[in-house]
């Protein structure tokens, strides 16, 4: 049985339907990527799973229980890392306060136990304890996102939603955070719903992929398989629009065009 199951989920904002009868499953310890262009319904899916928007129809189950019928505290098992690191953390609070707050809500224990847990969380997200007394304004984008991940982990979730969590970061920071997500899965066994429009990141991180187009799931399956041999025309376009460096460097035609002076950027545009 899957850990998280989304069944025929629809989300509408007024008369605009953002998500139409989407279904997907996420197993424990699995990383499922949800990809699609802007406006395809990725964030609506994430927010509905997070309980931040009310679905128009359909249901979301965790361990087989319909979350809509369960006490709201059970939703703590699902936490989210947002896209914008600057808006993710309260600018008035220190990192210590930000990480202590969820522990207080969980009634984790006395101050000493919470402090120990905060140190463990910092180690998990590979941050220095020296940052604890800083406010978000004194952190880099990557550090902010790591704090946001640590805050989410403090709630001891079983599912982590990463909604375009890397898109506001530079390439090298993205790369280190991808490694962090992979190591978190290894160390904690957490399941991750990784929402992204970056197929290269998805290829590197995800076990399975789900492709959304205009609010509908058009294709899903094993990540390597879907990206290597896409079936749906939209998935084919999506894959064709991105360059996989490893594959491109095996392609004689590509190498010939590069030799003729076509830049990688121009090649990408084609």
């Amino acid at each position: 049985m899957s850990l998280l199951s989304v069944e025929q989920l629809s989300v509408a904002y007024g008369r605009t339907t953002a998500l139409r009868a989407a279904s997907l499953q996420l197993a424990a310890g699995e990383i499922l990527a949800v990809v699609g262009e802007s406006g395809s319904g990725k964030s609506s899916l994430a927010r509905a799973v997070a309980g931040l928007v009310k679905p128009h129809s359909g249901r979301i189950t965790l361990d087989g229980s319909d979350l809509a019928l369960r006490p709201r505290v059970e939703r703590r098992a699902i936490q989210m890392v947002f896209q914008d690191p600057d808006a993710s953390l309260n600018p008035r609070h220190t990192v210590r306060f930000i990480l202590d707050e969820p522990l207080q809500i969980l009634a984790y224990g006395p101050a000493a136990a919470r402090a120990e847990r905060i140190e463990t969380l910092l180690r998990l997200v590979q941050l220095e304890p020296a940052l604890l007394d800083r406010r978000p304004i004194a952190l880099s984008g990557g550090q902010k996102q790591r704090v946001a991940i640590a805050r989410a982990l403090a709630m001891q979730p079983r599912v982590l939603l990463a909604d375009e969590a890397l898109s506001a970061l530079d390439m090298s920071t993205q790369s280190t955070l991808l490694d962090l997500f992979a190591s978190l899965r290894r160390e904690t066994g957490i399941a991750i719903l990784f929402i992204s429009h970056d197929l290269a990141a998805v290829r590197r991180l995800a076990d399975r992929v789900c492709v959304l187009y205009r609010g509908r799931v058009v294709e899903q399956g094993d990540c390597a398989q879907v990206l290597a041999a896409p079936q749906h025309p939209y998935t084919k376009l999506l894959v064709a629009a991105t360059i996989d460096p490893a594959r491109a460097l095996q392609d004689p035609a590509f190498l010939a065009r590069l030799a003729d002076g076509v830049s990688v950027e121009e090649e990408t545009m084609q």
């Binding site: 997070a50 309980g51 931040l52 709201r72 505290v73 939703r75 703590r76 699902i78 936490q79 989210m80 947002f82 896209q83 914008d84 808006a87 993710s88 953390l89 309260n90 008035r92 609070h93 707050e101 969820p102 809500i105 946001a148 805050r151 989410a152 709630m155």
Partner: protein, 267 residues
């Protein structure tokens, strides 16, 4: 320091001095502001121990000025507090409630604000038919809360969509904790500016009502009442007019200057 900044600083200090004078009033001028002494009618300033002279009934103008200052500050502070508490609560509710209730609250706010405050206040005081400190405080507070509700609703609506607030919601944080730790602190800069400007507006509203003889008990020392009484004697006893008028202008300008400084500081 620019001339504008010097003026602002001066006005700010002036406001503090006026508040201190109001608090220390009974110790500064020991005379009873209500005591009539017909032998001292229209006594000019600095005569017979009357610093600012006497009015048409021989009452000490300085004592009445200080009593009026306490009255004005008390009413402005009380009305501002009521408007702030009520407006903030309704604004937060309107921002938080997504469905019909929130829309209804927003419409009630707009409807209440569509009435001219002064006309509404006069009508309410007239209907109650009872004058006094509490009547004025309640009336002015109850007709001006939409000012706070509109600002709080607009800012809080935006805050409730901020990602750190959404993250707090996902922790299933209690409503009170969410408000106290994440929403209200972010409202402090704009609310503090609004509080000061509203306080100045309430000083003017109270004086205007007193000038019309509405709200204050008969014979009570109020700046509006003093201005009204001085009109008939402004040529023969100008001190009766100048003292309350100057104090009213200074207090309102001082409050506005403070509001302006706060606005600059929090921008």
């Amino acid at each position: 320091m620019t001339a504008q900044r010097r003026l602002l600083r001066f006005a700010f200090i002036l406001l503090l001095v006026l508040v201190a004078v109001a608090l220390l009033g009974p110790f500064l001028v020991a005379r009873d502001p209500m005591r009539i002494d017909l032998a001292a009618r229209f006594l000019a300033p600095l005569q017979a121990g009357h610093l600012l002279g006497c009015d048409q009934l021989g009452r000490d103008v300085a004592a009445r000025l200080l009593a009026g200052l306490r009255w004005s500050l008390g009413i402005a502070a009380g009305a501002t507090l009521i408007a702030f508490l009520l407006g903030t609560a309704i604004g937060l509710l309107a921002a938080r409630s997504r469905a019909l209730f929130g829309t209804a609250l927003r419409q009630v706010t707009i409807f209440t604000q569509s009435f001219p405050v002064f006309v509404l206040a006069v009508s309410i005081v007239a209907v109650i038919g009872k004058s006094g400190f509490a009547t004025l405080v309640l009336t002015l507070g109850l007709v001006t809360w939409p000012v706070f509700a509109r600002v709080v609703q607009a800012e809080a609506s935006s805050l409730f969509t901020r990602e750190y607030v959404l993250a707090a919601e996902m922790m299933q944080m209690g409503g009170a904790r969410l408000l106290l730790r994440h929403v209200l602190p972010a409202l402090v800069p704009s609310l503090s500016v609004l509080l000061v400007f509203h306080f100045a507006d309430m000083i003017i509203a109270e004086s205007a009502l007193s000038f019309l003889g509405i709200g204050a008990p008969l014979g009570a020392a109020t700046w509006g009442g003093m201005l009204n009484e001085s009109r008939a004697h402004m040529l023969t006893a100008p001190w009766m007019l100048l003292a309350p008028a100057a104090c009213l202008v200074l207090l309102v300008v001082g409050a506005h200057a403070l509001g302006q400084r706060l606005r600059e500081a929090t921008a």
